[in-house]
């Protein structure tokens, strides 16, 4: 069987396997710990007047209880919110990662500049999105936001507007860094090739060389970097959404753990697993099997 086809077929198999395993294991696991309030601000409390006084009971038993929306409506909306973040992160990674990669490759002979760019991207990829999210929120607050909105940027909440900025930065940094590093390495290799030296010797413009002779070799690598980087973004999606109260599928999955909503958790985990598997397949399929020199 064709390797690419086999790799593509592994995606639904993996997703189905995740679904089966989680559908069996999640209810069993949830039966072994007590309900808890997943985050402050959830008002799922019933007050009952008993002889012992007023007793407050946490009554939410599903995500639908928390959000007062139907399960299907909630999950579809949450999935769109998460996919929107990932798409934004993908675009940023392609544009910024590609540009940084090209710049680092062109400056590869200047140790300080080239090394500095690569060092910076290494640092960015090493800082977990969780810390980036928190530090960004604090930075924006220190720079003058207010709890009701903010003069600079909103530091939490959902919206396809300026609300996107901070979660997008937090979630896309690893993808940008990963794409930039792979692109820089690959473009550097191509720029050192004999046929580029020949092109330079012929007096072709750098922009022409890049567009016509370099980028065709680099495109698969950029896609590979994008796939790998976005996998890191998917991994940090739950905590980033939770911190920004984004209301995406990652946040709902974390909240489902508290209210023992097995269906909500399994759905969220399967969606994230599917995204993970698809991105993994993109990265694997895009990975060049041989260097251009021997092709």
């Amino acid at each position: 069987m064709n390797t690419t086809l086999a790799r593509i077929l592994r995606v639904p198999l993996t997703v189905a396997a995740i679904w089966v395993v989680l559908a069996i294991a999640t209810p069993l696991a949830m039966a072994r710990y007590a309900f808890y309030v997943p985050r402050p601000g959830i008002t799922c409390t019933s007050l009952s007047f008993t002889p012992a006084g007023i007793v407050s009971t946490f009554t939410c038993r599903s995500l639908a209880d928390i959000y007062h929306r139907s399960f299907e409506d909630l999950m579809v909306d949450a999935t769109f919110r998460s996919v929107a973040l990932l798409l934004g992160a993908g675009v940023l990674a392609l544009v910024l990662g590609g540009l940084i990669g090209v710049t680092a490759a062109l400056l590869r002979r200047r140790a300080f500049a080239g090394g500095g760019i690569l060092g910076l991207t290494s640092l960015l990829s090493a800082i977990p999105a969780f810390f980036v999210a928190y530090f960004l929120q604090i930075a924006v607050i220190v720079l003058g936001a207010s709890e009701t909105g903010g003069r600079l940027l909103p530091v939490f909440g959902f919206g396809y507007d300026e609300h996107l900025v901070l979660p997008l930065v937090a979630i896309s940094l690893p993808a940008i860094a990963h794409t930039a590093q792979l692109a820089a390495t690959r473009i550097g290799d191509v720029l050192d090739a004999d046929f580029i030296t020949a092109a330079n010797a012929k007096g072709l413009r750098t922009s022409w060389i890049l567009a016509v002779h370099v980028l065709p070799h680099v495109r698969p690598v950029v896609l590979e970097g994008l796939g790998g980087g976005l996998r890191i973004s998917v991994a940090s999606l739950p905590i980033v959404e939770f911190l920004f109260k984004w209301g995406g599928i990652g946040q709902l999955s974390l909240e489902a753990v508290g209210v023992h909503d097995a269906a909500g958790f399994v759905f969220g985990a399967v969606v994230l697993g599917a995204l993970f598997a698809v991105l993994g397949a993109i990265a694997d399929i895009s990975r060049p099997r041989a260097l251009f020199r021997s092709a």
Binding site: A29, A52, V234
Partner: protein, 774 residues
């Protein structure tokens, strides 16, 4: 001379920095984790950086910087073990997967599956399932392992694939080298850079996961529920006085206990996240630097050969020396341990505490060591009971109460067996004539009920047992008037000739014996008993019960009191007719009282020469007959502590007849002396000491003392509620910080443990421990 790699130095510096903080963090911390500052002028907690502590405090008033230093050991150990476990599992599975194709396909598929779901989700569920109140950190490491082995597995497997196709492998295979030898001698040296880098990545990943789980409220190890409300003099609205804290302290727990999930904390108390957050981030960078340095160094060197060099030996020796130094450097207040050992050895049978105090050189509190008096009092001879048919309900002393007698001058004791009549809420307009207090005031109770039927009309309660439900209030439109006082309701039934009263109080189980909070009502029956005590054991027995108990008793009559346990709507149809009736059953109410006379003899002595204004620690040993005697502990403490001049008072307390009245005699003898802390010892027969206190800031401290003193004890997981807080003689000392020391579980003699514990406290007190009240 070959150029030295600067990364090697950076890696070494990072390694030694982490090692130093892990081993010495607790010693160099400015304060201990058991040091709380519950109040600081009128500043709200958590304190801003610079106010009390340079980097601020946690929600309970502990130094955040110190907590980070103290938590370094647990956190670093867990993430290191978690990272190593992930890599070890990855290495093992990668090695196994080379044995056959199906095995490899299976492990590949499993790795795909594990890594497809974000680790935070799986780890959160795993921690919730695995980590319970008292589970060890190894369960947490297990949760880290479950979620993270797939990454190292993939990387190592790819590296093994690469190595398998190297030219030297043909020779190795031709020579017939075994699989294990291939892995150990030919693959492992090549794997070192990958393993080093991967281990550092996995340690960082574990660190991030610990931080994320902390924010989500899940953390390593056990928790303590700490409530410091009772240690406060001023109540600040909106201030959090209770929190779940990690035991032992660790960084994820710091994030969890700071309520970091609440977005508002970013504006108000962001240092709660920033201080541990920066520690997490710096550690991540340091670990990454170590991994990078090792990977670079061994990219082209054989690590097995390097292990035989002088440099490696020097490094190993340095590390060993650091460990030895950390083991030898004494911890804080180490001298107090010798106090504990001395007291432990000094425990012998002490028959006469007065003689023991005199021999030890203690000074009497008053004219003599003995505080004596003869006391006569009407006391309960046995628990009160109510019997209807085959159902008997008995008084339980434990809080919350569901049945208790009301014994004051207008009631009394005795046994009554008679028919039962129900008088609903005992409402009679004649008892409450309307009163016009002001032209601006709303109608009073008498006005609201003047047209309602009389619950006593047409029913003869003389010589019968009256069932009466406490009237919570009467509502008319938007206005609600509170019901009469409980004694008024009881006495209205008494004056009509009731032989006994079963008084149903819907909020009986909510009462506190002493005033603690405006939201918790004080028991009105106890107040009556204290202000108007009974003098004759014979009288009319009155028993107060909850609606649940009343309904159980009166089920044969088909009566449920629950509908009457609410505010009465004066305009409702129910209010227009009385539910009073003869229930057609007989009951037996028993409140056995006797007049008791006893000679009470409490022995009290103090360390001589202590200035009158010095804060004292009172060791209050409750005298019990039989079993391990707390008096023996007092004797040992008196002998060992008196020469050391610590400001301690020793009380061999006689709880006979009326413990609170007896305690007042001791309080009188203590007059003028300031009591900073009381240690109450009550019962030492058991396998382990147990501690109880409503002062949450003392909870971690007493456990620490017991551990340092080498005492057998059970970890105190929570703070006692002040409403259920009681010990013999509590009344005059209700506002004094107190720890109740008892015993629990099985057979055993805990005198030596108790003596060691108290002596250790004395040692710390003498050495100036900051957390002890003075």
């Amino acid at each position: 001379m070959p150029r030295r790699d600067p990364w090697a130095y950076i890696g070494l510096a990072a390694f030694f920095a982490l090692l130093f903080f892990a081993l010495f963090g607790e010693r160099i911390a400015p304060h201990q984790a058991i040091f709380f500052v519950p109040e600081h002028d009128h500043d709200p907690r958590p304190y801003d950086p610079g106010l009390v502590f340079p980097l601020g405090s946690d929600v309970l008033g502990r130094d955040l910087f110190s907590l980070v230093l103290i938590g370094a050991r647990t956190t670093l150990t867990v993430v290191l073990l978690g990272g190593l476990a992930r890599v070890a599992a990855g290495l093992a599975l990668a090695g196994i997967s080379t044995w056959s194709r199906p095995l490899r396909a299976g492990t590949d598929w499993l790795a795909d599956l594990v890594s497809a779901v974000p680790a935070t989700l799986v780890a959160l569920i795993a921690v919730k399932v695995l980590v319970k109140g008292d589970t060890s950190v190894f369960m947490f490491i297990g949760a880290l392992l479950i979620t993270g082995w797939a990454g190292p597995y993939r990387v190592i497997r790819a590296e093994l694939d690469r190595l398998a196709h190297m030219p030297f492998m043909e020779g190795v295979r031709a020579l017939g080298v075994s699989r294990s030898d291939i892995l150990r001698r030919h693959h492992l040296p090549h794997l070192v850079p990958v393993l080093a880098l991967n281990t550092s990545q996995q340690v960082v990943a574990s660190l991030v996961l610990v931080a994320e789980l902390g924010v989500l409220g899940a953390f390593i190890g056990s928790v303590r529920g700490i409530n410091i409300e009772e240690s406060l003099n001023t109540f600040i609205l909106g201030q959090l006085n209770s929190a779940q804290i990690a035991d032992p302290p660790e960084w994820g727990g710091l994030l969890a206990s700071t309520n970091a999930r609440a977005i508002s904390t970013l504006w108000t108390t962001r240092w709660l996240f920033l201080v541990p957050g920066v520690a997490f981030a710096l550690t991540a960078v340091a670990v990454a630097a170590i991994g990078f340095a090792v990977a670079r160094r061994y990219a082209r060197r054989n690590v097995l050969e390097e292990l035989r060099t002088r440099g490696a030996g020097a490094l190993a020796l340095t590390v060993a020396a650091i460990f030895i130094v950390s083991a030898l450097v004494p911890d804080r207040y180490a001298a107090a341990r010798s106090w504990a050992d001395d007291a432990r050895r000094a425990v012998v049978a002490t028959g006469d505490s007065e003689r023991a105090f005199a021999d030890a050189g203690l000074a009497p509190l008053g004219g003599s060591f003995a505080l004596e008096r003869d006391t006569t009092q009407v006391v309960e001879a046995a628990p009160a009971t109510v019997t209807v048919g085959g159902v008997t309900e008995t008084e339980t002393p434990a809080v919350p109460r569901s049945l208790e007698p009301v014994v004051y001058s207008r009631t009394g004791g005795g046994v009554v067996e008679a028919r039962v009549v129900f008088v609903s809420r005992g409402l009679s307009p004649a008892d409450y004539p309307p009163q016009q207090t002001s032209v601006f005031a709303g109608p009073d109770l008498g006005t609201l009920i003047k047209d309602l039927p009389d619950d006593y009309e047409g029913i003869d309660v003389r010589g019968k047992i009256v069932v009466l439900v406490r009237l919570a209030g009467v509502a008319a439109g938007s206005r609600t008037v509170s019901g009469p006082a409980v004694d008024t309701l009881i006495e209205n039934a008494l004056k009509r000739g009731a032989a006994a009263i079963l008084f149903v109080d819907p909020i009986l189980s909510r009462y506190a014996d002493v005033a603690t909070s405006i939201s918790i009502p004080v028991n009105p029956y106890r107040r009556l008993e204290a202000s108007d005590p009974v003098s004759d054991p014979n009288g009319t027995p009155v028993v107060v019960v909850t609606p649940a108990i009343a309904d159980r008793l009166l089920a044969p009559a088909g009566l449920s009191t629950a509908p009457f346990a609410t505010v009465l709507d004066a305009g409702s149809a129910d209010a227009r007719r009385s539910a009073s009736r003869d229930l057609g059953i007989t009951a037996r109410v028993s409140v056995p009282l006797v007049r008791a006379t006893a000679h009470v003899r409490t022995i009290a002595g103090e360390t001589p020469g202590v200035p009158i204004d010095a804060g004292r620690v009172v060791v209050w040993a409750v005298r019990r007959s039989g079993g391990a005697s707390a008096v023996d502990v007092l004797g040992a403490l008196a002998r060992t502590l008196t020469p050391r001049r610590v400001p301690f008072v020793f009380v061999d307390f006689d709880p006979a007849v009326d413990a609170n009245t007896n305690a007042r005699a001791v309080a009188t003898a203590l007059a003028g002396r300031r009591v900073a802390l009381m240690l109450v010892i009550d019962g030492l027969d058991g396998a382990r000491l147990s501690f109880d206190t409503p002062y949450g800031d003392l909870v971690p401290a007493i456990d620490t003392y017991a551990q340092k003193a080498g005492a057998r004890y059970v970890v105190t997981r929570g703070t006692e509620s002040i409403t259920s807080w009681s010990w013999p003689g509590i009344a005059p000392f209700i506002s004094t910080k107190t720890i109740l020391i008892g015993a629990t579980g099985g057979q055993g003699d805990l005198r030596a443990d108790a003596a060691a514990l108290v002596a250790y406290v004395a040692g710390r007190y003498a050495l100036g421990a900051e957390e002890l009240p003075r």
